[in-house]
Amino acid sequence: MLMFLGKRLLQLLPTLFFVSVIIFGLQQLLPGDPAQAMAGEEQNPEVLAEIRKQYRLDQPFYVQYVYWVGGVLTGNLGESMRLKEPVLTLIAQKFPVTLQLALMAIVISLGVGVSAGIISAVRKNTKLDYVVNVLALTGISTPNFWLGIMMIFFFSVYLGWLPASGYVSPFEDFWLSIKTTIMPAFVLGNSFAAVLMRHTRSAMLSAMTSDYVRTARAKGLAERVVVLKHAMRNALTPVITLGALELGTLLSGAVLTEQVFSIPGFGKLIVDSVFNRDYAVVQGVTLVTATTYILLNLAADIAYVLVNPRLRD
């Protein structure tokens, strides 16, 4: 297990290196002079020279990269030009909001997606299976920002049940927090639920034809026990791994969902920074997202090995 962990960690290094190169390289795409872009309206050559010196724009690309990575490794992601705060502080402020949203979305999509997948596999080729499949395809094809707008229209404007936008921390007011996040969490979980449903269905279908399920049936166990205890437990392992691979989609989805519901999280931070040309924040958020995603994949791999004793050596 330690060997496996060491090997996997070593494999991460080149990936992380190239992630950092790509994200740093984005800055080189800026049309024109980056100092000019940073200065905005300011045209004074002395100010521009000062900016160039401060951000080391007068140095070659690789020198700038080394300084940037050096900063990143010591926890310095630069400073937001707009908010005049360290990027890391901003991320630390916004991350819990997105995390709450993502966790709620995962709970919703696991509940809906996994149970729908099991039902559709057990009732294979029936009308119910067909309906579940159509719903899953609908979920995958619905743009989540549109679903969000439609839900606001129905639940906030028409019925007046839920607030249309805004965010309250669960530590301030738990129930109000749930009320402000339940719609965005559902919207965020929607396509994730559809993907989980498809994975669960195919994993359950292959588990249902396996020898251990046949043995369990032959022992005379009730069908409910066979499905829920024998088939499901084995089918869920690949579902969790595949699910972890889709978590990146969830982070992408948060960008739009937070925009629609005006939730001050990670996604809104990146969009606001994009429009204010606050490139240090864009780079910082992208880097943290990619690293989170890579670590989640590592965690999924480890979990997969832990529950699969055959893979341990």
Partner: protein
């Protein structure tokens, strides 16, 4: 028993001298959902091409006497905040969406496939380097990379298409590489090499045609993803710029008038949904039709 029965039926209906293309087509049209997908795709393409003939109004024509009017005989889907006809804007919006889907996937294919062929065929350090860069790009969530790229390139439909295309490239690099590794050891590739064909000729003449089905399936599914991505970027203001119509930017404006003009939000969303659904259905259908295991 059931399986052998089915194969007898297929064998009986399939002509002996059928080409692979015809067989794939016959298998595709047997699936109702794939046919539905194909019909919607064709309809959308026709709408996009014939937009000037089909749209009742100029999509950018403002009419302040008709601001935010509910659907009526004059404006079937209502009007927007500047009195523009929503139906005409939805019809013209098909152009931006389909263009974004097709152009960005073409960019991804034309960069990704040659790189994937190189990685898979050459192997060694070239493969190792390309694979690590691919991993790194795939580690950055699709939309976040596209947003970052679009932000640094500047907001426009062209830049959005470039951003989506570049972001989708690693998907095709990885797929092509994997397929090449499978096909590389096949007898016909070995034979082509034995008679003295150069690596370029083997890659493009012998390997590429054999991995094309897998690429076609992925391309169809990626068009669906690219259409959502374009709509998302336009929704955020990073794609098609106003007043040119795009479904994503229409939804952005519509959100502000949800209380008194909900029709502004309904139709562009349904249009995106139908476009994405049709390419997903087509992609799923193609996957089954082109699956060699099911022949």
């Amino acid at each position: 028993m059931a399986v052998s029965d089915q194969s007898t039926v297929i064998a009986a209906t399939a002509p002996a001298d059928e080409t692979p293309l015809r067989r794939a087509w016959r298998r595709l049209v047997r699936r109702k959902s794939a046919v539905l997908g194909l019909v919607i795709v064709v309809a959308l393409v026709v709408v996009a091409i014939l937009a000037p003939l089909l749209a009742p109004f100029d999509p950018t024509q403002q009419a302040y006497a008709f601001v935010r009017k509910a659907p009526s005989l004059r404006n079937w889907l209502g009007t927007d905040e500047s009195g523009r006809d929503v139906l005409s804007r939805v019809i013209f919006g098909a152009r931006a969406s389909l263009l974004a889907g097709v152009v960005s996937v073409s960019i991804a294919l034309s960069i990704g496939v040659p790189i994937g062929l190189l990685a898979g065929y050459r192997g060694g350090w070239v493969d190792a380097l390309i694979s690590r860069i691919t991993d790194a790009m795939l580690a950055i969530p699709f939309l976040i990379l596209a947003i970052a790229l679009a932000a640094f390139l500047g907001p426009s439909l062209t830049n959005a298409m470039i951003a989506i295309g570049v972001t989708a490239t690693p998907i095709f690099v990885r797929l092509t590489r994997g397929q090449v590794l499978v096909v590389k050891t096949e007898d016909y590739v070995e034979a082509a090499r034995a008679v003295g064909n150069g690596p370029l000729r083997i890659a493009f003449r012998h390997i590429l045609p054999n991995i094309a089905p897998a690429l076609l399936v992925q391309a169809s599914l990626t068009i669906a993803a690219a259409i959502i991505a374009e709509a998302s970027l336009s929704f955020l203001g990073l794609g098609q710029q106003p007043p040119a119509p795009s479904w994503g930017s229409m939804l952005n404006t519509a959100q502000r008038f949800l209380t008194n003009a909900p029709w502004m939000a309904i139709w562009p969303g349904i249009a995106i949904f139908l476009a994405v659904l049709s390419f997903n259905l087509l992609g799923d259908g193609l996957r089954d039709a082109l699956d060699p295991k099911e022949r």
